[in-house]
Symmetry: C2
Subunit: 513 residues, 2 copies
Amino acid sequence: MLLANPENVGSTPTLRAKRIGVHTYGEHIAFISSACRAYKPESFANINKIEISGPGGRKIVASLNIVENGDLLDAHSLGLSTAAFEMLAVPEGADVTFTLAASPRSMDFVRSKIRGERLTAIQVSSIIRDIAAHRYSKSEITAFLVASAAFLTADEVLYLTRAMADVGTRIRWDQKPAHFEAVMDKHCVGGIPGNRTSMIVVPIVAAFGLPIPKTSSRAITSPAGTADTMEVLANVDVDLAQMQRIVGAEKGCLVWGGHVNLSPADDILISVERPLSIDTPEQMVASILSKKVAAGSTHLLIDMPVGPTAKVRSAQEAAHLSKLFQFVARALGIQLEIVLTDGTQPVGRGVGPVLEARDVMAVLANEPSAPVDLRERAIALAGRILEFDPSVQGGLGPSIARRLLTNGDALAKMQRIMAAQGPPPGSPKLGTLVSEIKSPLTGRVGTIDCLRIARIARHAGAPVSKGAGIDLLKKAGDAVRAGEPLYRVHASVETDLEFATRMATEENGYHVA
Amino acid sequence: MLLANPENVGSTPTLRAKRIGVHTYGEHIAFISSACRAYKPESFANINKIEISGPGGRKIVASLNIVENGDLLDAHSLGLSTAAFEMLAVPEGADVTFTLAASPRSMDFVRSKIRGERLTAIQVSSIIRDIAAHRYSKSEITAFLVASAAFLTADEVLYLTRAMADVGTRIRWDQKPAHFEAVMDKHCVGGIPGNRTSMIVVPIVAAFGLPIPKTSSRAITSPAGTADTMEVLANVDVDLAQMQRIVGAEKGCLVWGGHVNLSPADDILISVERPLSIDTPEQMVASILSKKVAAGSTHLLIDMPVGPTAKVRSAQEAAHLSKLFQFVARALGIQLEIVLTDGTQPVGRGVGPVLEARDVMAVLANEPSAPVDLRERAIALAGRILEFDPSVQGGLGPSIARRLLTNGDALAKMQRIMAAQGPPPGSPKLGTLVSEIKSPLTGRVGTIDCLRIARIARHAGAPVSKGAGIDLLKKAGDAVRAGEPLYRVHASVETDLEFATRMATEENGYHVA
């Protein structure tokens, strides 16, 4: 209404919808020709969003860009990016109109939060519903995230978690054992390269007979996520129906969470949060627990590594974060155990999908060369999950887990899970371009900087290049002589190897004393 | 580097730059074909920004969109939106490469601010320089604005103001009178429809002989800015050289600030702030004073209307805001006067560019029908500015201003300024579609809701339709009978009239008791 050209006396003018094959990932984009006479393009300079209406009454919100090129768009059409076109769901050429998009009403609550007020459950839930319905621009989402980063009460974290779980898919599991109506889950707070215990814990717990349908993310800022590493061994691109079949047959799975739509609001929040590197305990708790509620998990074990370069830096931080997890989990009816683990160095030897998959399979196959720290950590975590089962005596979990690993049951279960999920795409191999990073000093390895190792591995090409990464030859406590290699960098592209090697030479991430 | 396709062993692949005629207003946009083999488009899903390098070494940052349509872009090209193409400054088809754009380093200071820390002058200045250089995404700018909205010390406001003034054009004026090295300026904090005193104050002050080069904004959320209203009478689209010529000849001007580039960082901040309706005293002070420093103003009068629906709601708010203005202005060497004015109702009778221009010209021409409140307010404000001149005795400013108005000097000056700026584009007429909004009650008009009147006038089409708006027939204190009209709505488009009339009928904004 506000945008209609005043010379057009009469009703709101229509334009013809045209699909413009542009994927934007973030906001929907609409395109209008600068020659358009029905609307006045020059008045859009300060306008953020428009609301487009199709003939069926369906409405979408989009950002408007002006096109000066007649080849791309004529003066009577409104172009729509791929996702916007699909969401409006009209045929090519359909009559559409548009108007200034009002800011979503829940933005008033975001502004209350910016002023430092506490929000009610209803207010938080209306914000999350609008975010999940793509009614927020990236700026509006950022405003919510930053205002929440300033402070959020424990109650607000609970409201947020519940609201995020409510807008997604809720999975129901029929695979619960009769004596114990439970679905197990496991989550690592993250930050430690090589910490791929899920790929050992899931087969142990499933071999024991408890359901553990594990969804994981792909790496975004780290050199490998569990989904990236599992994808070296099996297909992880599985939808909900397939996932339920696999868990029905095998009790466990290790799949990518991207198709399951567990917490779409969280996915949107993360897509804005990550590039800004805003990471608060409150948002972490809401993000993790909302996905667990939606996934139908009843029992959850959280691995919380603590170390100077881990996500959780001190015992004090760990205590604060644990209390918040416990408060929200209890209110949501999730049985929660938190295990504080060593976060002073990477786990295992490999960092990067192929190298981490090698370590995992070595542990499952009981190879003598398998990294001890990865195995012991997985046994401890799996043991704690087994103890959720009332039929397991307190303290006996780890010994049961160890038995299921050493007797080959866990390996057999992993192989059945891999077969059920199907073969991996391609057959990724370890990067053949290699450089060795040598110790400049003789001494003993102290801590290893997890952030630095992760960065070097990413610059070597992980996780996009699955065979790229770092193979650690020395771990904390090992003696090392000057000139002896600390680790190998693997890459598939010459420039990646050069760049990663240069980074590692500048600062290798090892503290040798 | 991170994005290069691992199968391309060797150096970073090049693409050909292609101008895509899309105006985006906000961030630069780059387009890549989904068929591109040199880079792997599918790995871009979570990537926010890329840094593109041209053959000359110039680099720009852009958001990346993926194009599935071969007509728009072939697999060997990198498309660039208009502004991005111009900023990269390479010929069509030039070889370009790109890599993941690192977040600007000053984002670390934004994250400090989010954590509640105080920033130093150097930190604030590096944030503002990066924003002015378009190195921040909209989300990053929002993060800075929202974190600053939580709290900003007076010192931080000063750093911000100085940093914003430093990145723009600094105007030097050679028109200062010999006895008094000064450049006058006037600013209204805003929020009151019809408050067009600048168009009366500038001719009075210029007629007196003091330089007053006034730049104004166009309306963004209000039904008219001074630039919109002046544009009914004269051209306002003037660049810096023309502005200096006009002020050299006439001492005063009334132009749009858009071409003068006074505070580009502020323009960018406002473009993000406005749609979010985040409006803090700290940001207001930095925004206004940075532009005044850049404009070379030495003496500034601020009109601060106070009322229940004005921007400043209470005497307490006004005191807080005034102190902040005074602290920053003093540190920047600007002589500042703040006048608290009545903000309980609109000023004059007209709301909307054509109607407001009518009121202004009626005051300047001393017409008996001229609105008294607009005239008296302009005389009071102009009088205070004249008293900045040491040759004017304290208390005599208003009587001098009144004389310059009644003797026709101000009108003659306004006509010379209009002639110097040139004729207006088109000849906007008052909207001929009219509806009358009648009082449902008999009584006396109390306050008038400025926000409501502004909203109705905007829905009637102002300021895009210059002849649209509201003509107030009753003001506070007037007696009114049930059925007597309170105001007329003018529009140029039937649907606009209908919509605005419906809004006004629901809630007319008048308190009649």
